[in-house]
Amino acid sequence: MTVSSEYVEVTDRLEDILDLYESRHWTDGLPIVPPTMERVEAMIAATGRAGSDVVAVLAPGHGAATVEKIAINAVMAGCRPEYMPVLVAAVEALADPAFNLQGVQVTTNPVAPLLIVNGPARHTLGFNAGYGCFGPGHRANATVGRAVRLILINIGSAVPGEGDMAVAGHPGKYTFCVAEHEEESPWESLHVERGQPRESNAVTLVGISGFMNTLQATVEALAEAATFSGSNDYRFGGCSLFALNPAQAQRLAASGLGKRELKQRIYERCHKRVRDFERQWLEPRADELTLDDPDSLVPMARSADELMVIVAGATGAGNHSLVLPSFGNSRPVTRAFTLPR
């Protein structure tokens, strides 16, 4: 037997198992798949690694995310074993200091890590990048995102009201995983932009605090949707995500905008002024802003390059793109992964 975690003995009645896991705060509130030894072993085997390998240590509890603990939570979330490489890469990304998991987990802000999957694994594993890609209906999106949340609860100790002090939380804390619609993008895809080879697989994690639809996707409309003075992006200099539907992205590209130019144009339209904020709110940016001058500009990101643009959603649907404000006090992290041949 390769599984070394402690186990609990329960009757084989599903209701009893669900009650036990819920009563111990080991779930997200939804029913789970019981993590039996056999299921956990199959999940570990799919990684080709030892169950005892420590992938990361997760804040704020600083629990060790071993391959085995990741596997247990993956079973509970309903993952297929072949999703494990994505999940292991996502856990590595969570623990990258740039992501600031401590802040993401403990904050009163409603931030949730969004997983963006790129590369051929989207097709191999069945990640949805088209109709309703941020919504229900696809097991890969749903269960990989859910497994990350269970890992954050059970290994990182982010139980709501305990290690997770979000005042109101975020529906993306149940599951939050999307694939980029690379085939419909007029620009280079996110993982290539972030330094990965075009044919590689990668997952990018970004801390997202909100979700807004915009019917129009002109530069002006996208900037307007992101520009509100309560946004954490102004407080820290963030990395808001613009998820454009294919037709609107292609329309912007046809007007001569590359991705870099698009981000620059949005950035230039998102400035506010110091007077728009209580001074204490901008203190984290005292090194880059002139806080004593009320007319001084406050950009929503530290640079245009830090804004993020992906293409996601159904082909041929002409309207509806998304603007997702970021937590601000966290930087996106990308990790490559490979699937077994």
Binding site: V8, V10, L20, W26, P35, M37, P60, I72, E162
Partner: protein, 61 residues
């Protein structure tokens, strides 16, 4: 009977003992609360920190 594995990893003992973990929780919450009025801040911070620390240090079954 069925054997089911436990999904959680215990809070790292060295952090709980050294005080590093409570300090991190306290600091993060204090940063958050810089956005609200000073009078309310102290009471809210104390309650949030107490809630978080008592839960994190008691562990899980």
């Amino acid at each position: 009977m069925l054997l089911c594995t436990r999904p959680f990893a215990p809070v790292a003992a060295r952090d709980a003992k050294s005080g590093g973990l409570p300090d991190l929780v306290r600091l993060t919450i204090a940063q958050d609360l810089a956005t609200i009025g000073a009078e309310d801040r102290r009471a809210l911070a104390e309650r949030l920190v107490d809630d978080a620390l008592s839960a994190l240090t008691k562990g899980k079954p």
